[in-house]
Symmetry: none
Subunit: 547 residues, 2 copies
Amino acid sequence: MRQASIYDTTLRDGTQAEELHLTTEDKIRIAGKLDELGIHYIEGGWPGSNSTDKQFFKEIKNYALKNAVVSAFGSTHNAKTGPESDPNLKSIIDAQVEVATIFGKTWDFHVTSALRVPLPRNLELIGGSLAFLRKNVRELFFDAEHFFDGFKANPEYAIACLKAAREAGTDVLVLCDTNGGTLPTEIGEIIQKVQAALPGAALGIHTHNDCELAVANSIEAVRHGAVQVQGTMNGYGERCGNANLCSIIPSLELKLGVRCIGPENLKKLSGVSLYVAETANQRPFPRQPYVGGSAFAHKGGVHVSAVLKNPHTYEHIEPALVGNTNRVLLSDLAGRSNILFKAKQYGYDLDKDDPAVLDLLAELKRREAMGYEYSVAEASYEILFFRMMGWSKRYFQMLNYRVLDAVNDDKEPFSEATVMLQVRGEVAHTAATGHGPVNALDVALRRALEPSYPTLAQMRLLDFKVRVMSLASKDGNGTASYVRVLIESGDRHNRWTTVGVSHNIIEASWQALVDSINYKLFKDDPQKWPKPGGKHDSPLVHETKKA
Amino acid sequence: MRQASIYDTTLRDGTQAEELHLTTEDKIRIAGKLDELGIHYIEGGWPGSNSTDKQFFKEIKNYALKNAVVSAFGSTHNAKTGPESDPNLKSIIDAQVEVATIFGKTWDFHVTSALRVPLPRNLELIGGSLAFLRKNVRELFFDAEHFFDGFKANPEYAIACLKAAREAGTDVLVLCDTNGGTLPTEIGEIIQKVQAALPGAALGIHTHNDCELAVANSIEAVRHGAVQVQGTMNGYGERCGNANLCSIIPSLELKLGVRCIGPENLKKLSGVSLYVAETANQRPFPRQPYVGGSAFAHKGGVHVSAVLKNPHTYEHIEPALVGNTNRVLLSDLAGRSNILFKAKQYGYDLDKDDPAVLDLLAELKRREAMGYEYSVAEASYEILFFRMMGWSKRYFQMLNYRVLDAVNDDKEPFSEATVMLQVRGEVAHTAATGHGPVNALDVALRRALEPSYPTLAQMRLLDFKVRVMSLASKDGNGTASYVRVLIESGDRHNRWTTVGVSHNIIEASWQALVDSINYKLFKDDPQKWPKPGGKHDSPLVHETKKA
């Protein structure tokens, strides 16, 4: 079986993405996860360029990596000096890594217009830098910056750059599509010409996504014999990002029969993708191929009924192969089969003609007509499901709430909420101010509940979405429309989304807040109902239903 | 020059995306923008499946499209009936469109396991449905569902399906990679075999992005002769989405030399991409190729200094070709040139070094950093522009407002607003209830203003959109984030959109409401300033500036 090694540069090129910042501690944690995933090379950074990266190389030595080796990155030496006195190369040696990657110019236009040295001098910089490092590292890679643009402009010179690197003892010549403008057919043609000029050279590929072709270009390079693929988790990187390893790895393993991390590690991919996103404080992209939250989510009724018969009908791979799961979106586009699918996940094996199913279907249709959207608010759906199945426990009861928003004389707006609840037989009456009405309500609600339910302190509101549902009310006034609010919450272990709908944005937010808190309390409840593994026909269920 | 036509299915397949919903009104507006962009075919929906789509086909007839024709979508007829009595085909005819697209099964496994009819019967369904529609439409397309998977499983049968469609008079046979699992090399090989089996047939391509290869696959199909590309704006669609037209169109035009919308329309691409995202209430994806906010943003120090010397060093195309801008070198100048462009529309011929332009640029930058987004709120921009140019007239002045929202004992929520304004030297103090806080504020505001400005009675709020701008505040609480509100208003002649931003959703709504009313009063003002056609240096301007 053919093999390709994966070279991850999330910690270096990935951090060039807008609004993405990693601390040394973040980098250490991500490196640990990449190692677990079976990535071969982790580029830790550019030790000569900043202290975060320098610190990373120092600290990572305290960790015993099982699969990955750490690589340090740097440029060819300064044209005014020799390699021996270049601080950048020295810092790579000081980083005490097994692998070093040096990037150099291979596009004549860049050599003369950006680097501003004569073309032959650049060949010396490449060869000299790599030869200098050769004895200090176990493996040595050359990132041929702008190689494809360079080859198109001046093929002889681009090849001469690779030759200089090869003669200096470089192990892999990595062809870079730095500007991301190259088409897959060009990738294949140019690689064939490189192979003709440098028979037997080990080639790598490093692409950027400016044409939404970075994955295709990487695959095309491997098809033509590249033995190393450089990229980042979730495709993070400057401009449109780097080649997305979360798409390349499964396509190589599952579609091209090229072994890289192996089938067992592949099952960790969705988890690692999410871990990196969260650590980098990046909103996960739901439509992300293979690993995204929507990647195997089915909405259309035709699709849903076919997928229930056979997932292969609308799924190109089995989601479990990459650690993902398929999801049926609960919407009015689909129907009863969705309810049965979800019920099974909750431990209920229901019949499609069960009266409880018919009741739930009717209730769902009624609510969806009002604007509730359960496909994205599964926690609200789960609460509704258990209520319809007879779960009657109430953690608290609302008596009333009130929110006041005011602005005087162009001052900052002011929001104050009061909440009155019945909690465990007592009346809790609290007040709070906040950065807006929903925040004020949330704070007042927690003040009323946390004395009785201290685990609520672990819970955080993570995101808040508002949608106005219909354009115009009967009187033609847009602001009188229905408002749907989605709230995403999380604790240390989970994330969940709840929904509220009302004419009134405050009331819709309140409903979603209350559902979110109920969901947290339900999940934490030691007397949770039904008991884990409980079935629809368990005695407990019927007992509670009668209650 | 080779040509390919673009078939947009944002309004149909795009709405299968999770959390994406379009009202009929949204669809009409998006169709208008796609028409301006020069898209050839706009698939409006599935008139047989739901009332939103049916209504769309009814209403779009009131609009004269300049470039695009509207297409209706549907499946092959029910296997138990003939085409004549199929309600789905009838609804396509009732939609009175020039173009119809019928999808049918071409994968034997789907025919027997999902459709559950014998293989020959499916050929009759395809041929019969298309032949029945042939005389009712000008152009007829066949979406060959799962074609590539079907061809791999049973090439003879997949080809027989295409032949049945072709013999029924279909104009374009659209090969679909419905599950998105096909590789570019397979696309090319299979198309060549189809061309050998059906010489001269016009082929189209419809791909999904489950391997992050939809764009590469579409381009590969065009390279092999496909004459129609189906896709969606921003790649919206079920699971990982459809082929992203915002990436395909510029690559065809700029890289493959295939004409589709032409260079002038191409400059509108970034604007239309954003417009569709905002209308669909989808967060724009910053790293989106060609049109994304980060697509030409340079962060790395090496890149920035090279780009400042020559943008070509790290940019694969000139961003202006797709209506985007370079964020390092050109953001300032582009901002300024936009200001000059808009100013001209308002009757001002300004110089780029005019102090007023520099002031406005600084103010815009300050506000955009706060979350204001003027590209979709031109009415707010116009007000800001005239204020910066010295327009000092105030139709009213806010003294204070207050909104109370309350719910008691599970009753309906109750909203009451009071507003105190200075209007024409008098204090107007009004109160109103409403269906929610923004509606209550709007009613109270109108009560205070309509006695002085009776034309406000013609004005209606048409749409209201809310976006939470950042994930978490300092205390980790999502609801404390910044909120941006967009309000669309209209009267008998015009529609306009305004923006407000605050921690507090009520305050953000208030700002947008006030801008909207000011815009209406400004447009209706007989002493409007500057006078129509007035220039920056007209006496009126200077007089007013001095006042």
